[in-house]
Symmetry: C2
Subunit: 155 residues, 2 copies
DNA sequence: TTATTAAAGGATAAAAAGGTCCTTTATTAT
DNA sequence: ATAATAAAGGACCTTTTTATCCTTTAATAA
């Protein structure tokens, strides 16, 4: 449903939302270590996200990636769209041509409510709001189960 | 979430459930044409499903694939398990290590109810019951949107 | 028993996804 | 200016997924 690339991009962008700002830019290396993603692969993803104006970057010493005020208002669906395109998320769960109620597959009516829920989450709140929610709820961002004391949800 | 291979296997097995029995075996070719799957690929999948005792086959004239009475009591999850393994379905939506409520990812509480629903569907009813439901509801099995008059849900 | 049919199985190929490396470019500090 | 730093970009590699082809085996019918 989502490629690894999209998952990495989502987690890393949320990491940026929590830990970076225009004054505190973050290198690929730092994020790759914290989220446990191969860093050259993440570098590619970030290049693409910068081109897509989802995140921002500056080169040179103390350079790195960060979210501009504009970036913070993007939503998670923009990330997915930028990396995977939207079809992957919208497509039929069993791979039929179209997913719509005029031509429902055997699991269509199970899948649709879920899709609506997750789309709402991904489309209707900003990256910053999403990141805020994660902090508040104490849910986890790292692919490896990290010790919460090392990198607690509170900023 | 599911590989193409699994999707093909599910659709094709449901096709068998609807159209075959011990006296009326069906060739790979027929199914591949009806469900619109590359036939050598489906042949491989069916070989594997036979080895996994999900479907049955006989060689020679009037041979083909069919569901034995035992096969009909298998469920869709057995198909997925046989082709993809269960991890793919059970894993975290964002790719974190484990999907459980002690370590929830940002979308965990959206994903879990859906997963439970679809697992229930795939685990708790037999292939035959599933196929019956499809006939009753008139949902679609083909990957290409076929004209219902060509291959209607009624046997 | 021989020809025919259809699956089984092995070998391979093409495409996509995932991942790495190296050179170039921009920025900053000295 | 120059050195250091970190992203940008291009080329390339590996693995997995998807797909094809060809030979062998088993079953049946004539
Ligand atoms: S038609 Fe399959 S999920 Fe909607
Ligand atoms: S932890 Fe991510 S879906 Fe459960």
């Amino acid at each position: 449903m989502l490629s690894n690339a999209s998952k990495y991009a989502i987690l890393s962008t949320l990491y940026l939302a929590e830990h970076s700002n225009e004054e505190r830019k973050i290198s690929v290396k730092e994020i790759a270590e914290n989220i446990d993603i191969p860093s050259p692969f993440l570098a590619k993803l970030f290049q693409q996200l910068v081109r897509g104006k989802i995140i921002s970057s500056t080169k040179g010493p103390h350079g790195g990636f960060y979210l501009s005020e504009k970036n913070k208002k993007k939503n998670v669906l923009d990330i997915i769209d930028n990396i995977d395109g939207l079809n992957k998320l919208n497509g039929c769960f069993l791979g039929l041509n179209e997913c719509d109620s005029t031509n429902p597959c055997p699991v269509h009516y199970i899948v649709v409510p879920f899709k609506n829920n997750i789309l709402e989450k991904f489309r209707d709140i900003t990256i910053m709001e999403f990141a805020q929610e994660i902090s508040d709820k104490g849910t986890f961002l790292a692919i490896n189960n990290i010790d919460p004391s090392l990198d607690g949800p509170a900023e």
